[in-house]
């Protein structure tokens, strides 16, 4: 599109519209005011959601991006507005979430002068962005914005920050938009090397105890069907990292569960018994591998990965298949035949039984009086028919949500995996609901994390986004308390929380709210929440000192996983 003599602010808006953006999250302030003024004129085309804190805007944009697969966009002013974005940007970076952040900046003649609300956000955000750029010249806007979106969404996605000085927003120029399709120094997707596929197929075909661990790469690559086809045609047991979970339905017979620190017993222990480990779109995070020098040492490792820097970073691959899994997996599927692996599957089954008897049964069907977090998830699974998007915060409830929530559809588990950002879930759930309005979105949050971004209840109230907010309240920073109990002789240093009346807080935002303290009330309360077509808040007071098991203690091997 072409426009003559328009302001930098209007140009920015046309860039967003050209990129198909319909919804942005943000917070106005001095240095971004020209942009907001222009936004006022485009309200019918570009919806702006005013969060109650810039951090909320980033997490909302992340939630939106994670459910929709589109680029999330957020806007803030200079100085504190910009620095408040940093946590969300870092979160998006480590979890590979496509996001474009636009920050206002002081006028270019004031740069470096310690002007009011000036911070070097380019310097600050450099280590946590895939790319960033400061625009000081109105003429640069279309090219830089098209690059920003291209970089954010291509290859391994990530956050991009564009800082734009106030004078560049005011200045005028002719506008011509051309979508970016390549950058000479940037190769987002490595070329597929057929010999790597052949080598992978040979190793996998000779395996007696192969094991797949998949991650978010399957979802980011929109390769759920290709992945399912590979799993089914090879008949290889597969387990997931917490960011990969919903890529294959929970009920799928070849879905063996979760790996990692609080993952399932079988998938962790058998990682150290498999003879071929097939890693698909995952990066061997330390929460997945436990102690590295005892991780899958007996196995040949085949690593399917889009980012060459991830290959051999933590775990050495015998064969690395570089490329987008959407392209590489079908090539592999053709070359790997199905085998029964009967004895191998029996091992998973016997481990599952041990975990069920020692952990899962007590979590889901407790005989004690206090409510468990897991039984809340069980009720949500029942009431949502496993069709909901579950957005979790960080801590015990997050591990329980990831362990016990069941999913029929991809892009359904939204959580802060790599960064572990408390306060993520409430704004992310808002973004998830707006990114998938037809789906039920349930946020599972602890009493600690809830209070880190609790003000976003105001945004939920104002937008009336029908998010279902469940706070699992144990009056503790539960995960830290669990570690204090297990590894610090029960010295509960600063983990006990004296909490306000959360129901009253929700009600003061005019959000329907309820508190459950007894098992007998739980099912009905969850039904009532799910039946509501409005935002809804449910506090469930759970057992105060429950622990999440299984658990691989920090620094221990995956085979040293504890069941109690």
């Amino acid at each position: 599109m072409k426009k003559e003599n328009i302001s930098g602010s209007e140009a920015l808006i046309h860039c967003l519209l050209e990129e198909g953006v319909e919804l942005i999250y943000g917070y106005p302030g001095g240095a971004i005011m020209p942009f907001y003024d222009e936004l006022y004129k485009f309200q019918d085309k570009l919806q702006h959601v005013l969060t109650r804190h810039e951090q909320g805007a980033t997490h909302a944009a992340q939630g939106f991006a994670r459910v929709s697969g589109k680029v999330g966009v957020c806007v803030a002013t200079s100085g504190p507005g910009a620095t408040n974005l940093v946590t969300g940007i870092a979160d998006a970076m480590i979890d590979s979430t496509p996001m474009v952040c636009i920050t206002g900046q002081v006028p270019s003649h004031l740069l470096g002068s310690d002007a009011f609300q000036e911070t070097d956000i380019i310097g600050i955000s450099t280590p946590v962005t895939k790319w960033n750029y400061q625009i000081t010249d109105v003429n640069e806007i279309p090219e830089i914005m098209s690059k920003a979106f291209y970089i954010a969404r291509s290859g391994r996605p990530g956050p991009v920050l564009i800082d734009i000085t106030k004078d560049a927003q005011f200045a005028t120029a002719d506008f011509k938009y051309k979508a970016c399709v390549s950058i000479r120094s940037y190769k987002p997707v490595p070329e597929v090397n057929p010999s790597q596929i052949d080598a992978a197929a040979t190793i996998i075909s000779n395996a007696k105890k192969p094991f797949i661990v998949w991650g978010q790469g399957v979802i980011l690559g929109k390769a759920e069907e290709e992945f399912k086809a590979f799993v089914e045609s090879s008949n290889i047991p597969a387990a997931w990292t917490i960011l990969g979970v919903s890529a294959l339905p929970s009920s799928h017979p070849l879905n063996m569960g979760m790996v990692g620190m609080h993952g399932n017993y079988g998938p962790n222990v058998l990682t150290n018994e498999c003879d071929v480990l097939i890693a698909v779109g995952m990066r061997f995070d330390d929460r997945v591998t436990g102690r590295l020098d005892t991780y899958a040492k007996q196995a040949k490792v085949v690593h399917f990965e889009i980012d060459p820097a991830e290959v051999n970073k933590n775990v050495t691959a015998d064969v690395a298949v570089l490329g987008d899994v959407k392209q590489t997996l079908p090539l592999l599927t053709k070359k790997v035949a199905s085998k029964p692996y009967t004895k191998w599957f029996e091992k998973f089954k016997s481990h599952d039984k041990i975990e069920f008897d020692k952990v899962i049964n007590n979590d889901l069907n407790p005989t004690k009086e206090g409510l468990t977090m897991a039984e809340v998830l069980k009720e949500i699974n029942r009431a949502s028919l496993s069709d909901a998007v579950v957005v979790s915060d960080v801590g015990q409830h997050q591990m329980i949500a990831c362990r016990y929530a069941t999913f029929n559809h991809s892009k359904s588990n939204i959580t802060s995996g790599g960064l572990g950002t408390m306060g993520f879930a409430l704004p992310a759930a808002l973004g998830a609901k707006m990114g998938s309005p037809d789906r039920e979105v349930v946020a599972i949050i602890g009493d600690g994390g809830f209070q880190m971004t609790i003000q976003e209840l105001g945004t939920i109230f104002q937008t009336q986004a029908a998010v279902k907010v469940v706070v699992l309240n144990n009056d503790f920073l539960g995960m830290v308390r669990q570690w204090q109990q297990l590894f610090f002789d029960k010295r509960y240093a600063s983990t006990e929380m004296v909490n306000p009346d959360f129901v009253k807080i929700a009600e003061s935002y005019f959000i329907d709210a309820k508190r459950v303290t007894k098992r007998s009330e739980l099912g009905k309360a969850v039904d009532e929440m799910m039946a509501s077509d409005k935002p809804y808040f449910l506090e469930v007071c759970v057992e105060k000192e429950d622990n999440v098991f299984p658990m691989i203690p920090s620094g221990a091997s995956v085979s040293e996983i504890r069941l109690s």
Partner: protein, 173 residues
């Protein structure tokens, strides 16, 4: 085993890229021994030469992270044996030493250093070579009083071809 590696990085010439690259080392608590940035053999393409002391396993990962940056065209690492490298040093000495201490002229001659400028107050000697050569000259001149001393970072070219032009042509297609 830790050893000196020369990391060569071909990049677009853009603001902030130095920060982006140095952050990759800083994050891993790696001290940069020396760093230079200049034009390269290709128009509009910059070349960083960074010397670090680390294990090969670590330098490999760092180079992977550097190459991942959007504006980095290609990054390599090499051992000293695989490169031709030099450093430049400048030595500022009071002029009276040159005239009063005849020995200093022999030092300059012997070291194959050049006198860049001379005036009534001071003269400036330039020496390009290996680290031990510039250090030797430093040790030789120090007794006569050095007013200032400065040494550049390493600049280096590799013995093997870099083929960046071919890579850029390929990227263009």
């Amino acid at each position: 085993m830790k050893t000196n590696y020369t990391v060569s990085i071909y990049t677009e010439n853009s603001v902030g890229l130095l920060n982006r690259i140095s952050a990759i080392f800083q994050r891993r608590h790696i001290n940069i021994v020396s760093i230079t940035s200049s034009a390269s053999e290709i128009d509009d393409v910059s070349r960083f030469v960074i010397v670090v002391n680390m294990t090969e396993e670590a330098v490999k990962k760092v180079v992977g992270q550097i190459e991942k940056q959007v504006e980095v065209i290609k990054a390599f690492y090499h051992t000293d044996e695989e490169t031709i490298f030099q450093e430049s040093a400048l030595y500022k000495v009071a002029s009276k030493s040159l005239f009063e201490e005849r020995h200093i002229q022999n030092i300059i001659k012997k070291s194959h250093a050049n006198i860049v400028t001379v005036n009534t107050d001071f003269f400036v000697i330039e020496k390009t070579g290996f680290r031990q050569e510039t250090e030797q000259l430093y040790d030789d001149l120090a007794p006569y009083g050095l007013l200032q001393f400065v040494r550049s970072g390493r600049i280096s070219v590799t013995k093997s071809p870099m083929k960046i032009k071919a890579l850029l042509n390929k990227l263009k297609d």
